[in-house]
């Protein structure tokens, strides 16, 4: 046995070992490619199509065509005229008429006021460039060759648009004040809401973590309630509270609730739990030894607050701020309900697409909306990473000491917040039960007869339940398995990195943008997947993709906590990774799996933004029904449906809690010693 020489030998060339793949490796790689393909089709490609739409213009370029008109005998004596010249003279088409979509068709005869299809006059038309295209009936003519037609055929000539890439759409956008003013409005609403929500949530989280006040459990529960309802529900409550026939209308002193005030109050309501969770976590992990040290150094409580508490929670605060900012700027339901004439970006997308059928402008607004959303998302991710790094296993949790005076103050503060949250929900419930607001306040279930209203009736509710259950099952399976592959697969580094990047992307994409991109992608006649359009399946797909990131991160966190050598042990025992996955990974991760499914279920029931573009008459949803009934003036039934969503989600939550406890007790006996 020769001892190796210390003098380092040179690295030999060639002879690299190419590891043979086991069956498991092949299965796992193939599965990951499948899930990556899913994300590619349901996220990357639609976004790509949408972005390219935003940078594409279709215009009728009249200067590309020349027409020669004969006399009554059919002899072409007059010289050919360029259509652009003709249009300039006659002023038939304005610039707005010439801007079109890729399907646009422009009848030529309108440029010829004397045209009559019975006249013996003949027409010759040709393009001046090889790209000039027109349809004669349904026959496509392209190029510079002359086409001679009689009058009867000439009336069937339509021009096809010219496609160009560039910033033309954006130029149009920024020269329309009605549109670009929304940027300022959106930023204003998001900024003000962020400041208010973060301050309120910080106080609330502080009270729960750092005081000895009573009823903490109840307060925590109440703080989470807004997650269970669509973001537009507080809008409806605000209409009843402060609207034209509102109870507290006078409190606004003449200001209207329809506008920024309403949007901000409602936004604070629906973003509150998100900010609260993040800040509460940040406060909960602080190290009590820092406080002991500060007290030992005789620092005043005020000084401790600014030198220990705030720095300890700073990443949480910043992260919460950007999460709230992102939620508000991308929200569509609330400003739709209570925004009045106050335009914001998300609603603009809706108006452009649904109201004006201007898809390219919708795409442009989407691009404008994606920019702040992506920035906010990136900053949030950075902060989350640092917050985690601050948590050391050796820190000692802080135990608050009773202080009757402060505890009472915190209790009153928390009570105020709780009254605000419960008040909004109670208002909705009350409005839903009242016979005829505000004239007949007796109670009835009349507003629950959804089948008598617009919005799809009870079928919408059943569709929502189906969507929720399917999303929870399909989404959890795909997302958890994908996370498992990324986390536990060997080698294939670059593939895993790409996958990880794709899994993070959905969080940065606003729902409205995702929904619109689906229209572009799935409603394209050339797409073999077009059959999905208008089905429940596409609603499930869009919802799973929309909420992919948070679920993925939950799964990854749970998997990271598992011993990294399980896979090695299984391989040494000649057992397949799939058996290990089934027998060990899934049972051990069950709490996380249940968390992911309830998250997907609740969001499937409350989301409006992505699905508003994708539902069909057969697949209306409860959340959409709230929107549409409100739009049609059936506000009380809208409130009733909104509360149905609330009770369903609350029930699902309770079921989830019971199930978690039951399953954990039965299958996870090993957890307790």
């Amino acid at each position: 046995m020769a001892m190796t020489d210390r003098a380092s030998p040179a690295i030999p060339r060639g002879g690299r070992i190419r590891a043979r793949l086991s069956r498991d490796d092949v299965i796992m790689r193939a599965s990951m490619v499948m899930i990556a393909l899913y994300l590619l089709i349901t996220l990357i490609l639609p976004l790509y199509v949408m972005f390219s739409k935003a940078f594409t213009t279709n215009t009728f370029d009249l200067s590309q065509y020349e027409v020669q008109v004969s006399n009554e005998e059919g002899e072409f004596e007059n010289p050919p005229v360029n259509l652009a010249v003709l249009n300039e003279k006659l002023g038939v088409f304005g610039p707005a008429d010439l801007a079109t979509s890729s399907d646009g068709r422009l009848p030529v005869t309108r440029l010829f006021p004397d045209f009559s299809f019975r006249s013996p006059v003949k027409y010759r038309i040709h393009g001046t460039t090889p790209d000039a295209a027109m349809l004669v009936g349904s026959a496509l003519h392209k190029g510079t060759e002359w086409v001679e037609l009689d009058s009867n055929t000439f009336r069937r000539v339509v021009l096809r648009p010219k496609k160009e890439r560039g910033f033309e759409n954006f130029r149009a956008y920024f020269s329309t004040p009605a549109l670009f003013n929304s940027i300022e409005n959106s930023l204003f609403i998001a900024t003000v809401t962020t400041i208010i929500t973060v301050l309120l949530a910080f106080g609330f989280a502080y009270a729960l973590n750092r005081s000895c006040m009573r009823f903490k459990g109840a307060f925590r529960l109440i703080a989470m309630m807004p997650i269970l309802v669509p973001s537009l529900l507080p809008g409806i409550a605000l209409v009843y509270l402060f609207g034209n026939q509102g109870i507290f209308k006078e409190l606004l002193m003449g200001e209207s609730i329809y506008g920024p005030i309403g949007i901000i109050i409602g936004s604070v309501f629906f973003t509150f739990p998100h900010a609260f969770i993040i800040i509460s976590t940040a406060l909960a992990i602080s190290d009590s030894r820092l406080y002991e040290a500060a007290t030992a150094l005789r620092a005043s409580p005020w000084r401790i607050f600014w030198t220990v508490t705030i720095p300890g929670a700073r990443y949480g605060l910043i992260s919460a701020a950007f999460v709230v900012f992102n939620l508000v700027i991308t929200d569509f339901g609330l400003p739709k309900v209570i925004g009045g004439q106050y335009n914001v970006l998300a609603v603009d997308i809706y108006k452009q697409v649904i109201g004006q059928q201007n898809f390219s402008m919708g795409a442009v607004v989407s691009v404008v909306l994606v920019v702040p959303a992506v920035i906010a998302f990136a900053i949030d991710r950075m902060m989350q990473g640092r917050q985690v790094a601050m948590l050391t296993s050796r820190s000692v949790p802080y135990q608050p000491k009773p202080n009757p005076k402060a505890d009472r103050a915190w209790f009153l503060y928390s009570l105020m917040i709780a009254v605000f949250i419960v008040g909004i929900l109670a208002m909705c419930q009350f409005a839903a039960l009242v016979k005829f607001w505000p004239y007949d306040l007796s109670l009835s279930l009349r507003n629950y007869q959804f089948d008598l209203m617009d919005g799809g009736g009870w079928a919408s509710y059943r569709n929502s339940l189906k969507l929720g259950i399917l999303t929870a099952i399909a989404g959890t399976s795909v997302i958890f398995f994908g996370a498992y592959l990324v986390e536990k697969m060997k080698g294939f580094e670059w593939g895993r990195n790409i996958f990880q990047g794709m899994a993070m992307l959905p969080m940065a994409i606003p729902g409205m943008v995702l929904g619109l991109s689906y229209i572009f992608f799935f409603n394209n006649p050339d797409n073999p997947l077009r059959f999905l359009y208008g089905t429940l399946a596409i609603l499930v797909i869009s919802t799973v993709t929309h909420f992919y990131t948070v679920s993925h991160l939950t799964a990854v966190t749970a998997l990271k906590q598992m011993d990294g050598e399980f896979e090695s042990v299984a391989a040494s025992l000649k057992q397949s990774q799939l058996k290990l996955f089934r027998r060990v990974t899934v049972p051990v991760s069950l709490p996380a799996i249940l968390d992911i499914s309830i998250y997907l279920f609740v969001n499937a029931l409350t989301t409006v933004s992505a699905v508003v573009f994708l539902y069909s008459p057969d697949t209306t949803l409860a959340s959409i029904a709230v929107l549409n009934m409100d739009d049609a003036g059936d506000i009380a039934p809208a409130a009733a449906m909104g509360m149905m969503i609330f009770y369903t989600n609350a029930g699902a939550r309770i079921l989830h809690a019971v199930l978690s406890k039951g399953i954990l007790a039965r299958t996870q006996a090993w957890r307790g010693r």
Binding site: T4, I17, S572
Partner: protein, 374 residues
């Protein structure tokens, strides 16, 4: 059960193995042969490549270059699941949601064994690791030492040809560790399974291994039985890493001798030219103590009169710091039995004679010492 003392055949051959992580070379041209039934320890400081080598043998992180032959079969490019080994990790890696029985039976379930056969085998294994009554418990209900025994039972359940142990005792308490060390060795001897263990604990390696492979920076420094590694280290690194070692800066002299400060000491045979800077090394327990008035014989010249600067009582022996002005300010450590200390009435501040047997005074090149004390 085969008699391991009989003919030993090479079971595992590692030939010219390289492992690169980007530009970093984790294993550099490792060649090694392990006999059937042998217990080999890979020993070295963290980052020396010992775990990388183990994982390459297992096929968990396949080497960049080089071949591995197990039982005559080239397994260089096989995935872990196609190789024949059992493995035990520092973290035990027991499946937390399965009972002890199901953990042990995990690999036995789909190889065509009847339910009854599996039950018997599991019972047998539980007996073997001395935990016959713990089968229905979950891993979290057992102590660390017990969990590691279960992990061992699971690893040998399918009677693998090769047992790989990745720092199996490092997570345990000192007492349990010493106890389990003995049991693992016993079990290995009983089964006669070829075993490779990775450890950074030299005591563990010395106590358990038939042969030790000392590694450093991705290279094998020395291979040999524990006594040889201890008595005949081939480099200053090995000498220093295993056990205690006095190191004195010295200059080589003619005919197997060196000069330390003003003193000429006879040493082992060495190939250094006179005047070359070297390190003279001797283990503290190789110093022979004499009373201060001892008259050295003519042929054992390496006697020094030293002052006892400090004495530290370590239970079975005294560790003494010894100074001598002619050593140029360098200190020596000597380990003397309690008996000897009493006989020579050693005390701090007193004087004594020590003898440095020439046969125990090893000479190494100086440049090695610089990166030797990391």
């Amino acid at each position: 059960m085969k008699d391991i003392a009989e003919t030993r055949e090479s079971y595992l051959e590692i030939i010219g193995l390289w492992k690169m992580f980007g530009d970093f070379v984790a294993l550099r041209d490792i060649t090694l042969s392990i006999d059937e039934g042998e217990f080999v320890c890979f020993l070295g400081p963290s980052g020396c490549g010992k775990t990388t080598l183990l994982r390459a043998i297992a096929g968990l992180d396949i080497q960049t270059r080089g071949r591995i032959v197990q039982a005559g079969q080239d397994i260089s490019d096989l995935p872990a699941s196609a190789r024949d080994f059992g493995i035990v990790f520092q973290s035990y890696a027991l499946f937390p949601n399965l009972t002890i029985r199901r953990n042990i039976a995990f690999g036995l379930e789909n190889i065509g064994l009847s339910r009854e056969k599996i039950r018997q085998r599991v019972d047998e294994l539980l007996d073997l690791v001395g935990l016959p009554d713990q089968g229905e418990k979950y891993p979290a209900q057992l102590s660390g030492g017990q969990q590691q025994r279960i992990a061992l039972a699971r690893a040998i359940a399918m009677s693998p040809g090769l047992l790989l142990l990745d720092e199996p005792l490092s997570a345990l308490d000192a007492k349990v560790r010493v106890h389990l060390r003995h049991e693992v060795k016993e079990l290995q001897r009983k089964l006669g399974v070829t075993t490779v263990m990775v450890t950074h604990d030299q005591e563990e390696a010395l106590a358990m291994a038939d042969r030790i492979v000392v590694m450093r920076d991705g290279v094998i420094e020395q291979i040999g039985p524990p006594t040889e590694i201890y008595r005949e280290p081939r480099s200053l690194f090995v000498a220093d890493f295993i056990g205690e070692m006095n190191q004195l800066a010295a200059v080589a002299e003619d005919g197997d001798a060196v000069r330390v400060g003003e003193v000429r000491l006879d040493s082992r045979q060495h190939d250094f030219k006179p005047g070359e800077q070297v390190i003279a090394a001797i283990r503290p327990d190789d110093l022979i103590p004499h009373e201060a008035g001892h008259k050295p014989d003519a042929d054992s010249g390496n006697c020094l009169r030293v002052r006892l600067r400090e004495m530290e009582f370590l239970g079975s022996f005294w560790r003494c710091s010894l100074g001598h002005q002619s050593l140029g300010g360098q200190m020596l450590i000597g380990d003397f039995s309690v008996n000897a200390a009493r006989r020579l009435s050693l005390e701090e501040g007193g004087e004594m004679m020590i003898e440095l047997p020439a046969s125990r005074l090893m000479i190494f090149g100086r440049d090695e010492s610089e990166d030797g004390d990391d």
